[in-house]
C-alpha cells in the first residue's frame, strides 16, 4: 500500500544580497502584491536589519542579508507564490542575486511499518553496515544530486529523511531542490516563469516513481 501524503510545502530560496528591513507586509501591500485581507491577517515576527520574518494566511517570508525564502504549505497557492516572488524581484530588479532554488517537500506516512523499512533497505542496503555495526541499522537521511539537463546551469537534489510526528508514526520527508545559477540573462523572474510548474510536476513524478520502485 502506497504511503499517504500528509503535507507538502513549496518554497523558493534566493541567494544574494538583501536588505531585510524592506521586506514586510506593508511594502507588499503598497505595491499591490497582496490583498487587504492578507495584510490584515499578517503575522509579523520581526523586521530588523539582519532578519525579516513574517507570514500571512497562505505564505511565509524569511529574509536574511544573504538569503530570501518564501514558502507555502497550501497547494492551491503554489502558483500564487510564484507570482508573488516574480513580482517582488521585478520590482527589486537591481538586487544582486546569484543563485536560486525551487523546492518542494512531501511528508508521507506509511501505514505498514514493513514497507517503511523496505523503502530504507532498498535505497540504502544494510548488509554492508550490519557487518560492522553491532545492532540493526536504520536510514536517517539520504541525499542524491545530479546536474540539470535543461537550459539552466545548476543541479537537482533529492533528499529522503525519516520523520515521526503526532500523525506520522512511520514517515519520510521526500524533498526536492531544483538549483539554478543566476546571471544577467537568467533572472529569478525568468526561471520561475519558465520552470516553476515543471519543477513541481517533476518533483511529484520523481517522488511517485522512486517510492513505487523502492517498495514494489
Amino acid at each position: 500500500m502506497e504511503p499517504e501524503l500528509k503535507r507538502q510545502e513549496a518554497s523558493i530560496v534566493v541567494v544574494g544580497s538583501f536588505n531585510p528591513t524592506i521586506f514586510n507586509p506593508d511594502w507588499l501591500y503598497r505595491h499591490d502584491l497582496i490583498s487587504q485581507a492578507d495584510i490584515e491577517g499578517a503575522n509579523v515576527e520581526l523586521i530588523h536589519r539582519d532578519i525579516s520574518k513574517f507570514s500571512t494566511s497562505w505564505f511565509a517570508i524569511d529574509v536574511l542579508q544573504d538569503r530570501f525564502l518564501a514558502r507555502t504549505n497550501d497547494e492551491s497557492c503554489f502558483l500564487l507564490l510564484r507570482d508573488l516572488i516574480v513580482s517582488i524581484f521585478s520590482i527589486l530588479n537591481q538586487t544582486p542575486v546569484k543563485q536560486m532554488g525551487m523546492n518542494i517537500n512531501f511528508d508521507l506516512s506509511f501505514r505498514d511499518e514493513g514497507l517503511w523499512h523496505k523503502l530504507g533497505d532498498t535505497l540504502a542496503p544494510k548488509d554492508i553496515w550490519n557487518k560492522s555495526l553491532p545492532s540493526r541499522v536504520g536510514l536517517i537521511t539520504l541525499t542524491v544530486k545530479c546536474p540539470r539537463t535543461d537550459q539552466f546551469k545548476g543541479n537537482l537534489r533529492i533528499s529522503i529523511e525519516s520523520i515521526r510526528h503526532e500523525d506520522i508514526k512511520f514517515g519520510i520527508r521526500f524533498g526536492t531542490n531544483s538549483h539554478v545559477e543566476l546571471n544577467n540573462e537568467v533572472t529569478v523572474e525568468h526561471v520561475l516563469l519558465t520552470s516553476w510548474e515543471d519543477s513541481l510536476a517533476h518533483a511529484k513524478q520523481t517522488k511517485d516513481a522512486v517510492i513505487q520502485e523502492a517498495i514494489s
Binding site: 503535507r7 518554497s11 530560496v13 534566493v14 541567494v15 514586510n24 506593508d26 505595491h31 499591490d32 502584491l33 490583498s35 485581507a37 495584510i39 503575522n43 509579523v44 515576527e45 520581526l46 523586521i47 530588523h48 539582519d50 532578519i51 520574518k53 507570514s55 494566511s57 505564505f59 511565509a60 524569511d62 536574511l64 538569503r67 525564502l69 514558502r71 504549505n73 497550501d74 497547494e75 492551491s76 502558483l79 500564487l80 507570482d83 513580482s87 520590482i91 543563485q99 536560486m100 532554488g101 523546492n103 517537500n105 511528508d107 537521511t141 533528499s159 529523511e161 525519516s162 520523520i163 515521526r164 510526528h165 506520522i168 514517515g171 520527508r173 524533498g175 531542490n177 538549483h179 539554478v180
Partner: protein, 185 residues
C-alpha cells in the same frame, strides 16, 4: 501609519530578540551556496545544505517535522485547480465569463464557463477586468476546531503596476523602432 509605527516598535524594541534569532540562523546556515531547505535536526552537520529551523526557540528534537505556517493551522487538500482569464463581465447578471485551463489534469482541453461575481473575494474585486488572470481551486479544508469543509477559492493574479517611467521608455523605444523601419520603406 499604525503599521509603520508597529514596525518601528519592532525594530527598536526587539533588538535582543533579533540577535538571538540571527545567531540561531547563523549557527544553522552553512557558508555554502546551497538553495535547499534542510529541516533535519539542528544537531546534524551538513557540509552543503542550508538549514533553516522554523521554530522560534531553535530547540529542535532529534527528528523534526516543520510546524505549520502561522497563523493558519490546518491543511487544504486540493482536489481541483484551474488557471483562467476573464473574457467578459456581465454586471446585470452579476457574473463573468472565463476561459480556463485545468491544472490538475493538463490533458483536458481549455474550458469556457461562467462564474458568479460572488465567487470573487471582496478584496480581489478591483482586479476583476477583461484579461485578468485568476486561479480557482476546490478542495477539502481541515482546520483545528472545525469539521472538514469543502472550499471553493478564487484568487486573482497580482503583478506590479507599470511605472510611468517604464511606460515612457517603452513608448520612446517604440517610436525609435518605428522610425528605423520607416527609413527602409
Amino acid at each position: 501609519m499604525e503599521t509603520a509605527q508597529a514596525y518601528s516598535e519592532y525594530y527598536t524594541s526587539e533588538t535582543s530578540h533579533a540577535d538571538t534569532l540571527v545567531d540561531g540562523f547563523s549557527d544553522r546556515i552553512s557558508a555554502s551556496n546551497s538553495t535547499s531547505i534542510d529541516l533535519c535536526s539542528a544537531d546534524e552537520k551538513k557540509d552543503d545544505a542550508t538549514i533553516i529551523d522554523k521554530k522560534n526557540s531553535f530547540k529542535t528534537p532529534e527528528i523534526t517535522v516543520a510546524p505549520p505556517i502561522k497563523p493558519l493551522k490546518g491543511n487544504f487538500k486540493l482536489l481541483q485547480l484551474w488557471e483562467g482569464y476573464v473574457v467578459d463581465i456581465n454586471e446585470i447578471k452579476h457574473e463573468f465569463s472565463v476561459v480556463a485551463k485545468d491544472k490538475t489534469d493538463t490533458s483536458m482541453p481549455d474550458e469556457e464557463f461562467t462564474m458568479s461575481i460572488e465567487e470573487v473575494p471582496p478584496t480581489d474585486l478591483d482586479l476583476l477586468s477583461i484579461g485578468a488572470v485568476f486561479y480557482w481551486s476546490i478542495g477539502y479544508a481541515d482546520y483545528p476546531g472545525r469539521p472538514r469543509s469543502r472550499e471553493s477559492r478564487v484568487r486573482f493574479r497580482r503583478l506590479p503596476k507599470w511605472k510611468q517611467a517604464d511606460l515612457n521608455n517603452a513608448k520612446k523605444r517604440g517610436n525609435e523602432l518605428a522610425d528605423f523601419f520607416a527609413s527602409y520603406q
